[in-house]
Symmetry: C2
Subunit: 388 residues, 2 copies
């Protein structure tokens, strides 16, 4: 397998960016990533853009349009739509293209505009769910319902408490308060979470990630050509991707994560004990608890205690969502995955200021998308390593 | 470069398939392709689905949903949206994944539902155009306008006649009348075309491809593992992809095709004189005339005479659109590219009955998508070869 390095990252702030259209956000992220890499637009040989094109101003071929504005054109450009995992999928396809040996340098971009009013709210909500619209979405089986069912089951089976679940929001909003690019930058208390507006028991509104606008980009290359660029490189040890198997079992949304993590650890020759920090898909507080277990950071059933005891804090066993995660940093679908990569790369470079994870050498990302019949439609997971 | 073979193809009929939803169409195409290959669902290691998700019943993750119904699950599945070229893009990504050596067997699917009423007709039309919605689409600069402008320029510069342009429709509808899977299966006369309802001068309604429903699928593998399957294989000599450079020059929509063709010929070590048949993107009659020239089948400016003199007929120098092309076979966006591959594979296998191109050994596909500032957003081109 070819060794691939990330040499540049860039992203907009995530949030309600009413002054930005899709293309302006994409351009800012691409500009920053190229600048960070010390790369010219003409250095890019292949490109991928992850987006579910939710914004009403999103044109077809948004990747072509945004990249052309930045001088990247003529090369193969592929737009990818894979629900909330679209952006990580784009990064993974870029990595796969470099594996082919036919290309040496790639750029992956993710962008989404979610806060503008959409002309067809039902379509938007159904699609946002990433559910099977015909079988589940039409019956109102949207994400909060799915994750609240999973949470209730976890509470019943393992004694996980409502307070433990809420602690994920407290941790991630605290981390977000240290991240100038986060959608929410204000700490919340346990009481704030427990007393916030109910959505779907046990989840309240502060247990749910916001709807955000944003864009993020990543420049990747074969390690053999990395000397062309000046950005501090980070090694990609693994790039795993799995879709669901839909076993209709009791493990709501967990199996795909476990299989993707297994692939990532095997590819990297590493285990969960090696991970210093992880950006995981905390679309809901409870989801993060599930991910601790499925990524192997703690035993099955112990996720609630893991967060309660501070093991997921910056400075804990594994710093989970040091960026603020989807809950505080925000969740602009296509941009979420490349945004996670931005955080891990900057952490491994030691550039994260107040939220820096001390001595971080190995970081992981976990980005999911869609659900159906009790399983996730797509999970992409990367393991990145600081160069010696 | 790894040698890749196509071992199975399948497709629905294209047309107004009111009794089919997106997933039923996709399932039929996948089933047929697996059966043709003699492959099991579990043989597939990676999958791509090309669709612009135009149908109002199209869920997110349509590839995952349709493939799961056919028993293909758990593997990486990526949904690709690249305007009218989405499906060929999916086939090309599958080929690229096989080039990485990390996967041996892949399936690429394309599907689109266009004939159902869409809740937001303006959005649909704007997106259908594949234009830059903000700069061009909003001003009504939809595909018929783009291609009629190009046609008028060609007529003025090269003396191409209205009748020569109309002959493309006569040829392709004749070919379509021999194809039981075509949307339109009735021959038309030159007078029919010239007297049909005007759309945008010089193009009448019979100069425009229809809006169709349909799905098509392709099973690809490394030549080194092809003995696992029983489908008569076809060799992929080239898989080229380019995006536009948007030079704002006089060559409306032509430059991307020329650059993709150059890449395809170089990769195959072949030239236009070697091509026995070609499925090209005849979204409008005039477009096909342009493609003859840009793919090198005749000199620049001689496309009108090329069709008039019968060189593009079955039995001519290059049989162009033996399937009926987009004009008669139909144009269900995501399915169009894999549909072209279906035709070329079946022609090289000698399985095309009344429309069989005698002695066909080398076939080409050309699938474009989107336009902007006088250039095409994406062109994908394959060159396929009959095995000795």
């Amino acid at each position: 397998m070819r060794e691939v390095w990330i040499v540049g990252v860039g992203m907009t702030r995530f949030g309600r960016l009413s002054e930005y259209g899709v293309r302006e956000m994409a351009e800012e992220a691409v500009f920053d990533a190229l600048k960070d890499a010390g790369a010219k637009p003409s250095d890019m040989e292949i490109a991928y853009c992850g987006t579910e094109a939710m914004g009403p101003d999103t044109p077809m071929l948004v990747g072509q349009i945004a990249l052309e504005q930045m001088g990247i054109k003529g090369i193969p450009i592929t737009n990818i739509a894979n629900a909330c995992g679209s952006g990580s999928n784009a990064v993974r396809e870029a990595w796969l293209a470099l594996q082919s040996g036919l290309y040496d340098v790639a750029i992956a971009l993710g962008v989404e505009k979610l806060t503008s009013p959409h002309p067809d709210m039902f379509q938007l909500l159904s699609r946002l769910g990433g559910a099977d619209l015909m079988l589940e979405g039409c019956m109102g089986f949207f994400p909060p319902g799915v994750f609240s069912m999973a949470a209730l089951k976890h509470m019943e089976l393992y004694g996980t408490t409502r307070e433990q679940i809420a602690r994920v929001a407290v941790k991630n909003n605290y981390n977000g308060s240290l991240n100038p690019k986060a959608h929410y930058q204000k700490p919340v208390t346990l009481e704030d979470v427990l007393n916030s507006r109910p959505v779907s028991y046990p989840l309240n509104v502060l247990d749910c990630c916001p709807i955000s606008d944003g864009a993020a980009a990543v420049v990747l290359c074969g390690a053999d050509v990395a000397k062309r660029f000046t950005g501090t490189p980070v090694r990609m040890r693994a790039a795993a991707q799995k879709s669901g198997t839909y076993k209709d079992d009791m493990d709501l949304n967990a199996d795909t994560t476990r299989r993707a993590a297994k692939e990532a650890y095997e590819m990297a020759g590493l285990g969960p004990e090696d991970i210093d920090l992880a950006e995981v898909h905390d679309c809901f507080t409870f989801a993060e608890i599930q991910h601790y277990e499925d990524l192997g950071f703690c035993k099955h059933g112990e996720g609630g205690r893991f967060v309660e005891e501070g093991h997921a804090n910056i400075g804990g066993k594994v710093a989970v969502n040091s960026s603020g995660g989807l809950l505080a940093k925000g969740h602009p679908l296509g941009a979420t995955g490349p945004g996670q990569v931005n955080e891990v790369v900057e952490q491994l470079r030691g550039k994260c200021g107040k939220r820096q994870v001390a001595g971080a050498r190995i970081g992981m990302t976990h980005n999911g998308g869609g659900f159906r019949h009790g399983d996730t439609g797509i999970v992409v997971s990367f393991i990145l390593e600081k160069l010696k």
